[in-house]
Every structure is written in structure tokens, then in C-alpha cells.
Amino acid sequence: MEQVLRWLFFACAAISVLTTLAVVGVLSIETFNFFQQVPAADFLFGTRWTPLLEPKSYGILPLLFGTTLIVIGAAIVALPVGLACAIYLSEYAGARTRDVVKPILEILAGIPTIVYGFFAITFVTPILRTLIPSTEVFNAASAGIVVGIMVLPMVASLCDDALRAVPNALRDGAYSLGATSFEVTARIVVPASLSGIFAAFVLAISRAIGETMAVTLAAGATPNLTLNPLESIQTMTAYIVQVSLGDTPAGTLSYQTLFAVGAVLFSMTLILNLIANAIMNRYRDVYE
């Protein structure tokens, strides 16, 4: 009996490993099939992405540029604001303020992404179009800003953890030498927690790359090799959604593009997550 249960429980735990194997397996098999018909160089360095229209072309660069634009927009919003929030929470705010602000950030983090997509279309885009009339209805800027808002709570919370891990002795030492609170923060606390802050930034970028609904709704569906945030673009995730919405029979080349793009997306986020974990594990040892 005990032995049977042990194996049953092991099987449950093994499902997680099987999931990873299945993801890697499914993505690589279909990507391999895709590369049988489209040379890898054309896919990775091609500048036109028109797999669903004639003449067909399978260069992923426009999708990568689209994703990059979103990441830049999100980073401009989430990184400084998130860090400033964290500095306020960890260095200035009293226990009471923390008790109010932290749950609000948690709620913001728990709001479904589809709601942020709605927010982008009905709130951010109209404001952008009033401020800069040349903005297109679907544009990278609006989606980028909203993705930034979406990852902001995570940045704030991880940076807050990093800042609070700095021992008070360091702060007290600086204060006793006559430093102001700004000098303590900027020259002692932030440098001491730099690795944790950096890990938070990397995780935020990984999240922004994988974000789907807000960019599908607000950024458009035009694979554009552009760095102008006011134009309509398409990200890797939005393309995957677009293919799955249409009727694409299994085994066709356009069905396989879905997995090829998915493989690029998966590898990018996996590498970034591994980097962030490596950084975090290193910095945890510093003050112990």
C-alpha cells in the first residue's frame, strides 16, 4: 500500500517534468518540419512576414521588432515607476502606508490581462490620439504602456524585497556620517541591492515578451518592420493568436509557423527567466 501510494505521488510530481518535455517536444517537432520547407536563415533574418498572404514570406524580424517595441514601452513605464514605488515603500513609507499600498499592488497584479487590453483600447489609445493626432487606431505605444502597467506590481514587489534585504547597519553607517536620505538610497541601498533589482527588471522584460491579450487587442495585426511606436505592429504572441483564430488545417505550412514562432518566444522567455534566477540565487548569498 505505502509503496503504491509513493509511486502514485511520484507520478503526480512527474507530470510537471512531462509538461516541460511535451512543450519542448511539440515545439521542436513542428519547428523541424517548418525548417524542412523554409530555410532557417530566411526565417531568422528575413524582413517580411506574410505567411497568410501571397506572396508568402517567412522572415520573423518584423514580429521581433513588434515585440521589441512593446518591451521598450513597457520597460519605460514599469522599470522607473516600479523602482520608485519600491524605494518609497522600503525607505520612506511607514507600516500603515505599506499595509494599504501593498494589497493594492497585489490586486493590480491579479487583474486579468484581458481587462488591461480593454483599458488600452478604451482609455490609453484615445488619450494618445488626442495628444498626438498622427497616432494610428492600433499602435505599439498604447499596448506598451499598458503592458508596463501590468508588470509594474511585479517589479515593485521584487525590488521592494531586494531593497529590504539590505541590512540596516549599512543605512545607519551612512546616516551617522551625515548623509541625507537620498544619498543613503542612491549610493548605499540601491547599489547594494543592484542584483535583485536587475533580476526584477529581467523578469519584467520576460513577462512583457510573453504578454498576449493586451497586445493582440491594442497593437494591431500588421507585421511592420518599424521602430515608430505610433504605428500598428504585430508581436509574436499576437501572430500566434491570429493564426489560431483562422481555420488553419494541421500539417500546413501556416500551421507550422505557429510552432516556429512559439519556439522563438519560448526560448527567449526561458533564457531570460534562467538569467533572472541565476542572478537572484547569487545575491541571496551575499548577506547570509
Binding site: F9, S16, T19, I104, G110, P112, F182, F259, T269
Partner: protein, 289 residues
């Protein structure tokens, strides 16, 4: 004033300005929640009535309702819970109570941490290839629930492990000393003690499943559905899918419908989270320390 005193004054001014900057940025971030809720309520509240809750989608906004989405979400979350909770909790039991520390346990732990960071749309691709196509489940609620289960398993396992870890080991030792087997110790002592923590994690994971849109679109849940699913093999739609559908239309009336849908979605999430907080509160009252 001496140059030194001037410098000191400047330094303190910079410091005060920095504090003010951080404070105002924090206020700005917090106010986003207010703006979001205000906007959704202003647009959607007039549409929120009994007709809206009991009607099927329609191309006429005044006739459209959320019933199919609401029923689909209920089906989806029930099936997901039935699949993911036993697997997730038992996986956590294995890792905390049964597994010997070693390469296998470390491998599984690292693997779970990485799975938690995989974008949800990748789970959608997996669900499409394995459940919809390979197992031939088509666009059924079951295919959706299995996909969602894989998505939330890491969350459930991590939360359950934390809860099990927090059970004092003296409790286990007493039971072992009296001759209980490992399963008896786990079932009668560890799991009951860890239950509030596990339930909190489970509810948070299920609320994530309720809000996820992309994986469901991948497995083909974005179709016109004007019925309530009656079994796990029926086609379905879900709240976030319905919201996506309405938001992606250009007409203002559909945007207002989407807001009404968002209010329903947020209310469902609010009820679940309030339950989680309540369980955590009750659990913290009667516990061995």
C-alpha cells in the same frame, strides 16, 4: 551663508525632492486601480441587469448577454479544479514528505520554477497540439480544463509545498513514534494542518485560470456559442473570451457590453479572493504553534 552651509542646504533640498518624487509616483501607480475601476463601472454599470446575465451573445448589443460565458467559466473552473487540485497537492506531498533530497527532487523543483515562468500562450500551443488535435478532444470544455490545469499546476504545487513545509516536524515525529505509516501521518496530521495554506494557494491558482484568455483562444474557444455546455465534451466559451470578442469590435455599444462583462468577471474574482482571505484568517486562529 558659507559655501558649506549652502551645499548642505542643497543636499537636503535634493533629498526632499526625491522623497516627494517617489511618493507621487507611488500615488500615481495606486491611482491606476481607481481609474480602471471607475472607467469600467461608468461604461458598464448601465448594462448590468438580469437580462444581461441570462441572455446569450447576439449581434444586437441590446439583446446580448453573458450567460454562455458565465456557464462556460463555471464548467471550466470546476473541471480544472477536479484535475489540478489532486495532482498538484499530491505532487507537493511527494516532494515534501516522500522524496529523498537528491538529483530527482532538485530536477523537479527547478523544472516547476521554470514552468511557472512560461508564457500562458505557450500552454495554449501545447493544449492545441496535444489535447485538441492529438487526443482528439476538439474544442471541448475538457480540452480547455486540461490546458488550464497544466498552466496552474506550478502555482498549486509551490503554494502547497510552502503550506506543508510550515507544519512543525514534531507533529510528524509524534505520529511516527506511535507507529503510523507515512501515508497515515500525511493524511491524518500533515494535510489537515496544511489545509488552510493549500486552499488559499488553490483559490489563487483557480482565479488565475478564470482570468486567462490566450490559452483558451488557442484551443479554439472563440466561437459563437448560444447554449450552456451540458457535458465535458461540449463546446464552450468563457467570460474573458466573451469580453475579448466584444472589445475587439469597433462599435461603442459593444465596448460598454465588454465593461459590463468585466464587472461580472471582477466580481467573480473578488468573491474567490475574499474566500481565500477568510480561509487564511480562520486558519491562522486554530493552529499549533
Amino acid at each position: 551663508m558659507t559655501p558649506q552651509a549652502q551645499l548642505l542646504k542643497k543636499r537636503h533640498r535634493i533629498s526632499a525632492a526625491f522623497k516627494l518624487f517617489c511618493l507621487s509616483v507611488t500615488c500615481l501607480a495606486v491611482s491606476i486601480l481607481g481609474i480602471l475601476i471607475l472607467e469600467v463601472t461608468l461604461l458598464g454599470l448601465p448594462w448590468l441587469n438580469a437580462d444581461f446575465l441570462t441572455s446569450f451573445p447576439s449581434r444586437f448589443p441590446e439583446k446580448a448577454g453573458i450567460l454562455a460565458g458565465l456557464a462556460g467559466t463555471l464548467w471550466l473552473v470546476t473541471l480544472t479544479a477536479a484535475i489540478a487540485i489532486p495532482i498538484g497537492v499530491l505532487a507537493a506531498v511527494y516532494l515534501e514528505e516522500y522524496a529523498k533530497p537528491g538529483r530527482v527532487a532538485t530536477l523537479i523543483t527547478i523544472n516547476i520554477a521554470n514552468l511557472a515562468g512560461v508564457p500562458s500562450i505557450v500552454y495554449g500551443i501545447l493544449g492545441l497540439a496535444i489535447f485538441v488535435r492529438f487526443l482528439g478532444l476538439e474544442r471541448s470544455v475538457l480540452a480547455g480544463a486540461m490546458t488550464m490545469s497544466l498552466l496552474i499546476l506550478p502555482v498549486i504545487i509551490i503554494a502547497s509545498r510552502e503550506a506543508i513545509k510550515a507544519v512543525p516536524s514534531s507533529l510528524r515525529q509524534v505520529a511516527f513514534a506511535l507507529g503510523a505509516t507515512r501515508w497515515q501521518v500525511t493524511r491524518d496530521h500533515v494535510l489537515p494542518q496544511a489545509m488552510p495554506g493549500i486552499l488559499t494557494g488553490v483559490i489563487l491558482a483557480l482565479s488565475r485560470a478564470i482570468g486567462e484568455t490566450a490559452p483558451l483562444i488557442m484551443i479554439g474557444a472563440l466561437t459563437y456559442i448560444a447554449f450552456v455546455p451540458e457535458g465535458p465534451m461540449d463546446e464552450f466559451t468563457a467570460l474573458p473570451i466573451q469580453i475579448y470578442n466584444w472589445t475587439s469590435r469597433p462599435q461603442e455599444a459593444f465596448h460598454e457590453l465588454a465593461s459590463a462583462g468585466i464587472i461580472v468577471l471582477l466580481l467573480v474574482l473578488l468573491i474567490m479572493n475574499a474566500t481565500a482571505v477568510w480561509i487564511r484568517y480562520r486558519g491562522s486562529k486554530n493552529k499549533f504553534k
